[in-house]
C-alpha cells in the first residue's frame, strides 16, 4: 500500500548547515494497517510524515501509494500535497476558527474539482460527523468545542475526503491524560471499522504499543528497528530501543563461550556469570551488552532449585518503592544494582537477602549504539 524507499529529507535553517531530518528511511505498510513512527523529539519522525504528506520536499528517495509514485527523486515526480488525497490530523488540530463545525468538515469536499452537490456534501459530512460523535454539534462555531471535540473534528475532516492514507501527527499530545486514554480506544475503533491505512507519529511509547500493528522506532533521522509492538518491546535490537521503550537493566560483560546444554552464551558480568540469549552477534572473548526488563527479574525469599540452564543469583534488597499495583525494588547483586518489578505481596524489607531468577530467554544480548541520550 504505502512504500517509502531510501527517503532523505533535509531542511535549511537560517544559520548553519542544513538539518538532516530523515536519513535513508525505508518501510512498507500493508493496506488497512496502523503503522507508527516512534521516537524522541527531533528524531525525524514528523519530517518523515510531512514528507509522505508532501508538506516537505525530500532530497531523494521514493514514496509510492497504491502503486502510484507520489514522490520520486530519480524520476523527478513530486505530486503536490493538495493532489495526493491524504487525510491529515495535525498536532494542533488546525481547526479553522472562522467556520462552523460543519463547514470545517465540509471544506475538503467544497474545494474539490468535481465538487459534489449540496445534498451529497451534507450527507457525507453528517455521516462522518456521526462516526466521530459530533453530529449534534454541526452548527456550532468550531472554537466553542472542547479539546477532545476539536480533535475528533480534525479526524472527521481528514476522513470526509475518503483518503487513501490517514496521517496523524501526535494527535493525542494536547489532550489531558483521561481523555487521551479514551481517544486512544476511539481512534483504534474508527481505524479498524474503516480499514484505513494509517501512519501515526508519536513520542509516547505507550500509545505506540497500544495502537499499532507495526512500529518503526526512529533515532537521529534513522529507523532503528521495525516490528510488531510485542517484538519491539520484548526483543529490542539496540540499547536505544530497549532504553526508549519501557525501562530496562543494562549489564555489560565479557563473552566466555557457548553453553551447549542450555544452547545459550555464557557471559561474565558484575552479577556473576549468566546465560544470555543472542541473535548470533556474540563472539568468544568479545564484549556483550545485556538488557533485561525489571518485570523479568523474578524475586523470591524461598531458595531456588538449582538448574544449570537457568540464571540463579542472590542479592540484598537495597531500595523499595510501593506503587500500589506493584513494588519497584533495587537489589544489590555483587556490586550491581538490579531493578526489579514485583507483585506487592513481596514484603522483603530493605537489607534482607533475596533470591533472584532471570530467565536466560529474557536476558538479551543487544547492540550497543550509545542508547538514549538524556535530554536536559
Amino acid at each position: 500500500m504505502l512504500s517509502v524507499k531510501a527517503l532523505f529529507t533535509e531542511y535549511q535553517t537560517p544559520k548553519g548547515p542544513p538539518v538532516k531530518a530523515a536519513q535513508d528511511v525505508t518501510f512498507e505498510v500493508p493496506k488497512g494497517k496502523f503503522f507508527t513512527l516512534l521516537g524522541p523529539s527531533g528524531c525525524g519522525k514528523t519530517t518523515t510524515l510531512r514528507s509522505i504528506a508532501g508538506l516537505e520536499r525530500p532530497v531523494s528517495g521514493d514514496i509510492e501509494v497504491n502503486g502510484n509514485l507520489v514522490y520520486s527523486s530519480s524520476r523527478g515526480i513530486f505530486v503536490p500535497p493538495n493532489r495526493r488525497n491524504f487525510g491529515m490530523v495535525f498536532q494542533s488540530y488546525a481547526i479553522w476558527p472562522h467556520m462552523t463545525v460543519f463547514a470545517n468538515a465540509a471544506f475538503p469536499l467544497e474545494v474539490r474539482k468535481n465538487r459534489p452537490n449540496k445534498q451529497q456534501i451534507k450527507d457525507k459530512v453528517m455521516s462522518v460527523l456521526h462516526a466521530v460523535g459530533l453530529d449534534h454539534l454541526a452548527e456550532r462555531e468550531a472554537t466553542k468545542l472542547s479539546g477532545g471535540q476539536q480533535q475528533r473534528l480534525a479526524l472527521a475532516r481528514a476522513l470526509v475526503m475518503e483518503p487513501e492514507l490517514l496521517l496523524l501527527d501526535e494527535p493525542l499530545s494536547n489532550l489531558d491524560a483521561k481523555l487521551r486514554d479514551k481517544m486512544r480506544f476511539e481512534l483504534k475503533r474508527i481505524q479498524r471499522d474503516l480499514g484505513i491505512t494509517t501512519i501515526y507519529v508519536t513520542h509516547d511509547q505507550g500509545e505506540a504499543l497500544a495502537l499499532s500493528h507495526e512500529i518503526a522506532v526512529m533515532n537521529e533521522g534513522r529507523v532503528v528497528q521495525i516490528g510488531p509492538p510485542r517484538a519491539i518491546y520484548e526483543r529490542p535490537k539496540t540499547k536505544f530501543v530497549a532504553d526508549f521503550i519501557g525501562t530496562t537493566n543494562f549489564i555489560d560483560g565479557d563473552v566466555r563461550g557457548f553453553d551447549e546444554t542450555a544452547k545459550r552464551w555464557r557471559v561474565d558480568t558484575p552479577l556473576g556469570q549468566i546465560l544470555v540469549e543472542s541473535d548470533g552477534t556474540l563472539k568468544l572473548g568479545g564484549k556483550a551488552s545485556i538488557s533485561i526488563r525489571p518485570e523479568d527479574v523474578e524475586l523470591q525469599e524461598a531458595p531456588l532449585s538449582g538448574s544449570p540452564t537457568d540464571n540463579h543469583l542472590s542479592g540484598v534488597v537495597d531500595q523499595r518503592i510501593f506503587l500500589g499495583d506493584f513494588v519497584d525494588l533495587e537489589v544489590k547483586v555483587g556490586n550491581y544494582l538490579l531493578r526489579s518489578r514485583a507483585h506487592p505481596s513481596l514484603r522483603t524489607p530493605i537489607g534482607e537477602k533475596i533470591n533472584v531468577r532471570m530467565n536466560p530467554e529474557k536476558c538479551l544480548a543487544i547492540e550497543d549504539d550509545g542508547g538514549l541520550k538524556e535530554v536536559a
Binding site: 508538506l55 493538495n82 472562522h98
Partner: protein, 581 residues
C-alpha cells in the same frame, strides 16, 4: 536638562520618605498627576476655546456658538467631510491592499529576494513625510514631474499622464508612504497564525488561491480590519500630503483647514478648535472600533502546536511576477523618490534630469544649506528634543505600564486610557490644544523649546506605552515578587529587576520615538517660534520659499542621518537582545 527635571518627580520617592507614605505611592501619584496634566488639560482648553470668541486687544473673550455654526453651516464643511473621508479611506485601502499583498508574498511564497525586501521595507518609515511628498511632486507634478516629461517625450504629446495635485494623487502618495505600516502589521498577523491551519487546507485538496482566499485572508480578517482603522486614522490625521498636494488645488481636508484657519489673517483659533474637535470625534470612533475588533480577536486563537516552520508556497513561474511587484514597490516608494532628491540637490536651480543638466552638477546647495540661517540651530533643537523626549517617554511609560499591569490600584484602567488618549489626537489638534493651553496659562513656556518637548512627550506617550506593555507582559510577576522576598524595596526592585528586563523593549521603543520625533511636523508647525525651529519646520519653510535645491540637499542629509542612526541603534540593540521586528 529636561530629563533630570522631570525625573525629580520619580527620584523623590527614593529618599527615605515618611514611614506611612511608601515610595511606590509617591511615584504612582506623581506619574498619574503628570500624565493627567500632559493629556487632559490641553484637551480641556481645546474644548473651552471652541466655545469662545477670538481674543483681541480691544475685546475680551466671551462665550459663543459661532465657531460651530460657522463650521457646520458653511457649505464647504460638507465637502470638507467628504474629502477627508474619501482621502483617508482611499489611502487606507490602497496601503492595506498593497501592504497585505507584499506581506503575503514575503511570508508565504518563495519569491526571490524576499529577505532583502523585508529589510528594505522599513526605509519609507524613516523618511519624513514632507520629503516624501516633495519628491513625489518632482516625480509626478503636471508641469515639472519627471514621469510626465518622460512619457510626453516618448509619445510626443502634451497629455498629463500623472497629476499628483488631485485626490487620486494624494491617495497614491500617502498610500505608498503608509504601505510599510500595513506590511508590518500584516506580516505580524501572518506570523502569529498557526501554519498548520493552512497546511490542513492544503491536505484537504485546496489550491493556493483557495487557501489564500478562504483560509489565510479570513483568519487574518481581524488584523485586516484593525490595520484598516489604524491606516484610516493615520491618513485622516496626515498633514503633509493635504497641505502640499491638496491646498494648491483647493482640495481641503480637516487637517489643512485647521492649519488654514490659524494661518489666515486674523487667525481664527476658535474655528480651528471646532474643526479639531470634529476630527477628534472621528479618530476616537476609529480607535474605539479598533479596540472592539481587538477584543474579539481572542475568538480566533486556537490550540497551537509545536509551530513547525510555515510551509513556503512554490509559485513556480509566478514567482517572477511577485518579484517584479516587490521591485516596482521598492522603485516607487524608495529608489525614485530618493533619486530625485539627490538629483535635485546637485543642481544650482531645480531642473528636470537630463544630459544637459548633468553638466551643471554642483555641490553648491550643500554649502548654502549649511550656512543657511537657523539650520544649525534647528538641527541642534531636533537632536535635543528627540533624544530627551524619547528618554522621557520610555521611562514614564515604563512606570505607567507597571502601574496598569502590576498593581491593583483602583482606576488604573483610566490611567491606561489617559496615556493612550494622544493616539486619537492628530498632531495638528494636539499642537493646537497645547498652543491654546500655554497661551492662556502662560508660565513663559509658549515660544520656548519646552512647549515642543511637552508636545512630543504627549504625542508619543502611546507608542512608549505599547512597547512597554508588550515587554512587561512577558516578565513573570514572580521575578518581582522574589525580589521583594529578598528584601528589595519597590524602587530597588523596579530599578534592578523590572527596568533591566524591560531593556529590549525600552531600547526598541526609544529608537522609534527618536525617529518619529525628528520627523514630527504637524504639531511643531503650530508651536515653533523664531529660535525654536526644528528640522521638519526648516524643510517646510524652504518649500514655502521655493528653495527646492537647498531643501533637497537638506533632505538627503537628513534621510542619510536617520538611516544611519537606525542601523547603528539596531546594531547596538541586537547586542542587548532586541529581536528584529
Amino acid at each position: 536638562m529636561a530629563v533630570a527635571g522631570e525625573m525629580s518627580g520619580v527620584r523623590r520617592g527614593d529618599a527615605p520618605a515618611t514611614p506611612r507614605v511608601s515610595s511606590e505611592w509617591v511615584v504612582t501619584s506623581g506619574v498619574v498627576t503628570f500624565v493627567a496634566w500632559l493629556t487632559l488639560i490641553p484637551l480641556g482648553f481645546l474644548v473651552w476655546q471652541s466655545f469662545m470668541t477670538p481674543q483681541t486687544a480691544a475685546r475680551a473673550q466671551q462665550f459663543t456658538l459661532a465657531n460651530y455654526i460657522e463650521a457646520y453651516t458653511s457649505p464647504e464643511t460638507f465637502s470638507l467631510f467628504v474629502n477627508s473621508v474619501q482621502f483617508a479611506s482611499g489611502t487606507a485601502v490602497f496601503a492595506l491592499v498593497l501592504g497585505t499583498l507584499l506581506a503575503w508574498m514575503s511570508e508565504r511564497t518563495n519569491t526571490p529576494f524576499k529577505s532583502v525586501f523585508y529589510a528594505t521595507s522599513i526605509i519609507p518609515l524613516v523618511v519624513p513625510g514632507i520629503l516624501f511628498v516633495v519628491s513625489w511632486i518632482m516625480l509626478a507634478s503636471p508641469k515639472i514631474g519627471l514621469f510626465n516629461l518622460i512619457l510626453r517625450n516618448l509619445f510626443d504629446t502634451d497629455y498629463t499622464f500623472f497629476d499628483v495635485y488631485s485626490m487620486s494623487g494624494m491617495i497614491v502618495v500617502d498610500g505608498l508612504h503608509y504601505a510599510p505600516i500595513a506590511f508590518l502589521l500584516m506580516t505580524a498577523a501572518f506570523r502569529s497564525m498557526d501554519p498548520s491551519l493552512e497546511e490542513s487546507a492544503l491536505m484537504s485538496g485546496a489550491s493556493t488561491l483557495q487557501i489564500a482566499w478562504r483560509i489565510t485572508l479570513r483568519l487574518a480578517w481581524p488584523a485586516v480590519a484593525a490595520s484598516f482603522l489604524i491606516l484610516f486614522i493615520r491618513s485622516i490625521e496626515s498633514f503633509e500630503v493635504p497641505a502640499l498636494l491638496g491646498l494648491p488645488v483647493g482640495i481641503q481636508v480637516f487637517t489643512s483647514s485647521i492649519y488654514d484657519a490659524i494661518h489666515r489673517y486674523p487667525s481664527n483659533v476658535g474655528l480651528a478648535s471646532a474643526y479639531a474637535l470634529t476630527l477628534l470625534v472621528i479618530t476616537s470612533g476609529g480607535i474605539w472600533f479598533q479596540a472592539r475588533i481587538g477584543s474579539q480577536g481572542n475568538k480566533y486563537s486556537t490550540v497551537t502546536g509545536k509551530g513547525f516552520r510555515p510551509r513556503v508556497i512554490d509559485l513556480g513561474r509566478w514567482r517572477y511576477v511577485t518579484a517584479a511587484i516587490f521591485l516596482l514597490y521598492a522603485l516607487f516608494a524608495i529608489a525614485m523618490p530618493f533619486f530625485i532628491l539627490v538629483w535635485s540637490s546637485l543642481q544650482r536651480f531645480y531642473s528636470v534630469p537630463s544630459w544637459a543638466a548633468l553638466k551643471n552638477v554642483t555641490l553648491r546647495s550643500y554649502q548654502s544649506i549649511i550656512s543657511y540661517p537657523n539650520v544649525s540651530g534647528a538641527v541642534w533643537n531636533s537632536m535635543v528634543l528627540s533624544l530627551s523626549s524619547a528618554t522621557l517617554v520610555m521611562l514614564l511609560t515604563a512606570v505607567l505600564a507597571w502601574i496598569v499591569l502590576r498593581t491593583r490600584i483602583r482606576g488604573r484602567w483610566m490611567l491606561d486610557n489617559m496615556a493612550s488618549l494622544p493616539m486619537v489626537m492628530p498632531g495638528l489638534v494636539l499642537g493646537l490644544a497645547i498652543m491654546i493651553c500655554y497661551l492662556t496659562v502662560g508660565g513663559g513656556i509658549y515660544g520656548t523649546i519646552w512647549i515642543l518637548l511637552i508636545a512630543y512627550v504627549t504625542r508619543f506617550l502611546p507608542y512608549g506605552m505599547r512597547y512597554n506593555t508588550t515587554s512587561m507582559l512577558q516578565i513573570h510577576k514572580e521575578l518581582e515578587e522574589s525580589a521583594a522576598m529578598s528584601g528589595a524595596s519597590w524602587l530597588q526592585s523596579f530599578w534592578h529587576i523590572v527596568l533591566p528586563l524591560l531593556k529590549p523593549g525600552l531600547l526598541a521603543g526609544w529608537i522609534y520615538v527618536v525617529v518619529v520625533s525628528v520627523r514630527e511636523l504637524s504639531s511643531s508647525i503650530l508651536l515653533y517660534s523664531p529660535g525654536s525651529e526644528v528640522v521638519s519646520v526648516i524643510i517646510w519653510e524652504l518649500w514655502q520659499n521655493g528653495q527646492y535645491v537647498e531643501l533637497s540637499a537638506f533632505g538627503v542629509m537628513l534621510i542619510a542621518t536617520l538611516f544611519v542612526f537606525t542601523l547603528v541603534a539596531q546594531a547596538i540593540g541586537r547586542r542587548y537582545g532586541i529581536k528584529e521586528t
